[in-house]
Symmetry: C2
Amino acid sequence: METAVFEQELKERTALAEQTLRAHLPAEEGLQRRLTEAMNYSLLAGGKRLRPMLMKETYEMCGGEEGFCALGYFMAAIEMIHTYSLVHDDLPAMDNDRYRRGRETTWYVYGDAMGILAGDGLLNYAFETAAAALTACCRETEADQGQRMAHMERICEALSVLSRKAGIYGMIGGQAVDIMDSGSGQAAGQGQGAPSGEEAMERLLFIHEHKTAALIQAAMMTGAILAGAALEEVEQIEKCAYNIGIAFQIQDDVLDVTGDSRELGKPTGSDAENEKRTYVALRGLQQAKEEVERLSREAVDILDRFEGEHGFLKELILALIHRTR
Amino acid sequence: METAVFEQELKERTALAEQTLRAHLPAEEGLQRRLTEAMNYSLLAGGKRLRPMLMKETYEMCGGEEGFCALGYFMAAIEMIHTYSLVHDDLPAMDNDRYRRGRETTWYVYGDAMGILAGDGLLNYAFETAAAALTACCRETEADQGQRMAHMERICEALSVLSRKAGIYGMIGGQAVDIMDSGSGQAAGQGQGAPSGEEAMERLLFIHEHKTAALIQAAMMTGAILAGAALEEVEQIEKCAYNIGIAFQIQDDVLDVTGDSRELGKPTGSDAENEKRTYVALRGLQQAKEEVERLSREAVDILDRFEGEHGFLKELILALIHRTR
C-alpha cells in the first residue's frame, strides 16, 4: 500500500471510529452535568482511536457481518476504558501530569476529586455501553431465536474478554506493578525499589504485557469474537496483539535513545537520565531493535494466515511499530 | 417477628452473604499480588453485606428458583461496587479519611496510588464477576435452548440495571453532586458553594437518591429481575428501594440530632456544627421524623403486595430505617 493511500485511509477510519465514539457519549445534563462534561472532555481529547480501529479491522478480517449492532457499542466501550486509565494515570497521586497532548489534563481542569469520579464514571459507562449491546441484541426482532442466541453468546464472550483484559489480570494489574516499581505514591508499602537482572526483565515484560498489550488484545480479540471467529483464531489474534503491544513499547524505548526530539515532540534521553529500566537499558539498543523486528514479523505472519482482507490492518500495525515519533 | 429471632436470622443471612462474597474474591497471586491484597483488604473490612442480602431476599420474595447460578455472582458484584465507592470516597483527594469502622482505610495502608487502583480493580472486577454469570449460564447444559435464552435475558437485564444504577445516572452521579456541594477538592471549578431553599432540598434529595438509594435499588431490582419478575413488579421494587434509601439517609440526619453519641459510636451534633445541609436543617426535626415514617410505611405496603414470603425482608427494612445507631 502506498504511503499516501495509507495516510488517507487512516484518516477516514480514524474519523469513523471518532464518529462511533461520539454516538455513545453520555449526555451533559442534569445536576451531575459537570461530571459528564469532565468525562467528555477526557474522551474528546483527540486520541488516535487506535483500539476501536483495531477492533473494527479485526472484525472485518474475521468476516464479521455488516450491520451487527454490537460492534459500535464495544468500539466506544474500549475507548472509554483506555481514556479512564489515562485520566487516573494523570492524577496527582499517580503520575501528577498537568498536560497530555498539549492540553490540560482532566483533574487539572476539574479538580482531583472530579478527576477520580470522571475516571470511575468512564469505566462504569464502558460496561454500561457494552451491556447496552446485549439489550439491543435481545430486541433483534428480525433474527430467529437460534441467531439471536448465537449473537448473545458472542457478546457475552466479548464482554468477558474485555472485562478480564481491562482488569487485575490485564491493564490494572500492569499499572499496579508499574506503580510499585516506579515508587509512585508516598505512603507505606510502595516503591519497594527496583530489582535487577532477569527479575527486572520479567517485571518489565509483565508491565508492557499488562499495561499496554492487554487492551490491544481486548480490542482485537473482541473484534474477532463478535465476528464469530473460532476459538483457535481468537487465540492467534491474542498472540498477534501481544506482539504488537510489546513491540510498540520497545520501540518507545528505542526512540528515546535514537529519536529526533523535534519529531517526537518531547526531549529524548529522558529514560537514561531517570535511570528508568527499559528494554534498551536491560538488553542494549541492537537487541531491542532486533526484538521489535522479530515481534512485528511474527504478528504479520499471523495475520497472513487469515483469509479475509487485512491490507490496511497490516499497514497500520507496521506503521505503529516502526514509527519514528 | 421477635427481636431475638430476627437477630439470629440476620446473623445467619449475613454469614451466608459473606460466604458468597468470599467465593468470588480475586486470588492473591502473581506480580500484581499487592493490588489484589488491597482489594481483599477493602472487601473483608466487615461490612453489613446489606446489598447482597437485600438482593437475595428480593430474589426469594419474587419466587426465584433455587440453584440459579447467576444470583451468587451478582451478590458478590454489588458488594464489590459498594466497596470500591468507599475506597475512592476515603481517598485524600475526596474525604481524606484514615479510618473506617475502626480500621485503617485502604489508601492509608497501601498508599494513594494503590488506593485508586484498588478501587478501579474492584469496579472492574465487579463487572468481570457479573460477566462470569453469563458465561456460566451459556454452559448450562441441562437447560433447553428456550430456558437458557430466558436465563440469559434476565442476566443481561440485571447487568444493564446494575451498571446504570452504579454509574453517572446513579451512584457516581450522586457522588459528583455531593463533591460539588461540599466543596471537596482543591482545584478550579469545584465547591461552588451551597444553594438555598427549594434548590437546596432538590440537591439534597438528588444526592440521597443517587449516592445511597441507587445501589439499594440495584440490589433489589437485580434480585427481582434474576427471579424473573414482571416489569411492573420490578418498577414497584424500584420505588420501594427508593423509599428505603431516602428514609435511611433522613434517619441518619435525625440521629445526628437526637441520637446517643455512645450508642452511635460517634459524636452527635456534628451536622449543625459543620452547617451541613440536612433534611433536619431544611425542614425541622418533626417533619423529618414524619417523612421517615411515611417512606417506610409506603415501602412496607409495596412489599405486602407481593405474594412470596418476605417476613425477614420487612423486618430488615424496618430495622434499617428505625435504627437508633
